[in-house]
Symmetry: C2
Subunit: 330 residues, 2 copies
Amino acid sequence: MPETFDLGRLVLESGASLPVRLGYATHGTLAQDGGNAVLVPSYYTGTSSSYLPWIGSGSVLDTDRLFVVAVDMLGNGVSTSPSNAPEEVAGPRFPVVTVRDQVRAQRRLLDALGVRRLRLVLGWSMGAMQAYEWAVTYADDVDALLPICGAARCSPHNHVFLEGVRAALTADPAFRGGRYEFPPVAGLEAFGRVYAGWAYSRDFFHLGTYRELGYPSVQAVLEGWAADHAALDANDLLAMIDTWQSGDVGRGRAGGYEEALRGVRARTIVMPSTTDAYFTAADSEAEAALVPSAELRPLWSELGHIAGRPGIRAAETATIARAVRDLLDG
Amino acid sequence: MPETFDLGRLVLESGASLPVRLGYATHGTLAQDGGNAVLVPSYYTGTSSSYLPWIGSGSVLDTDRLFVVAVDMLGNGVSTSPSNAPEEVAGPRFPVVTVRDQVRAQRRLLDALGVRRLRLVLGWSMGAMQAYEWAVTYADDVDALLPICGAARCSPHNHVFLEGVRAALTADPAFRGGRYEFPPVAGLEAFGRVYAGWAYSRDFFHLGTYRELGYPSVQAVLEGWAADHAALDANDLLAMIDTWQSGDVGRGRAGGYEEALRGVRARTIVMPSTTDAYFTAADSEAEAALVPSAELRPLWSELGHIAGRPGIRAAETATIARAVRDLLDG
């Protein structure tokens, strides 16, 4: 069951101030010396529960050895978000929360839990963006880093993809600039349909891999994504896109992005999917070349971006589990 | 100046009947023996004029030697389209016109022009889909085939991409199921923004290639695509998507897609862009392996799908010009 941590007001990078409540869940027991903590930040449309397929006794994140903290990203509908925030910052008044803001809020949570350093930060997708930011902002406190299908910054092509889904949603006048009383269903469904083309790969559709995920047809994939997104809050979706587009470990730092990555001290395995359309293997390769101790270890998969999603498929999970083992034992 | 050819009513694959007027332009002079005709069918949002950068004395399609027929695809706003059709088939009443229907209409035009066989059919994007259909439907009458950034059928991933842009447009209630009085501008702009992410490549944005195309920034690319599409007719855009999604040289034919491609007799150069996100190089490779005399000759370019667009860039044009020469002289 997720718990909540109320950290009071956080002054954001933008200068705005946000009353912050974080959802999180812990698994396992923190060692006396505090040396077994692992942090997993949530991903787009995910929650702290989304990583459960990897967490447990003998699992990828073995709770017999590790103390796992799974945390809900601000904007995800569990932590403070447009859909649940106090009136002053609710809905379209929600400020831009950067990836760095997320990480600073998470640091406060870990302080409260008595966690001083992290054996490992890992995450998929936007979780990986937060993991990178952790390894830069708190370079001395992160022993190992495993970004899966993510990046240390939002690339311009990734930004353009996100502007597409944003436009599809906001083209629905029922969105009313975020002041909707009833959900902008047509816009949300269009958002889901546009997203579906990006989430997977050419081969995912060509080989019929969607059947393995329970979709009987290509049409069912589109309808599934439309229906799934119709149930989500439009302002939350857009707040998380703002966070996503803000991602850049170098912003405002002397030396910028490259120097920021060169400053990572964590043992690192950078794990792109070979068929990811927006967090591309090419971007990961460039980032792995900048992080001093990084190894590039691709997930060879036709699942596209989805390849690294917790619980998606045994082969991908095995590759991720091996990376976790290598990082913890290395 | 485009001319028009009125071919009366055409019974479509669907059984519907459409009064067909084709826009077209000819360049050069048909040889006495009729042996110098080249056909170039138009592409999505293009017209018969779009190929002009390749047409002229000494150009890629040399009008000193060749008789070039450039034809407007049905639905493109010049030939019979939702936006200009007689009331009975106007707007949302416009029937689905398949790629095969397009080619059958074009055959009637060539008959009227006295062209019996084609030295070469080439096209970019949807123009390539029509070129493939020509080489299958009229295998005995096509000497050479050059599909550029296109395919012999619409792949499932390509279909999903198109459902995304369709959804972005139709989510705007101003579209009114196609019965709009005023253009659904928000939907058209969203359509353009979503499309922009697919048209180019990761490297196009990463390397800043957009500047070479006159866009000062990534934001300018998005705004340019939004503005360009706001000026287009929504029903025309959707009619051409219907055509695009219908593309399959094997549909309704014994032996299907593979046998259809094995039956192509034209000398063929299949020319994908190495970074095309929807008419992928992988699909082209598979198709080149099926067409008996085909050579796969990729356009190595970071321009994504746009790599093969007429006049886009000198290096890509040179590769295309060489392929035309090799096919005509081979």
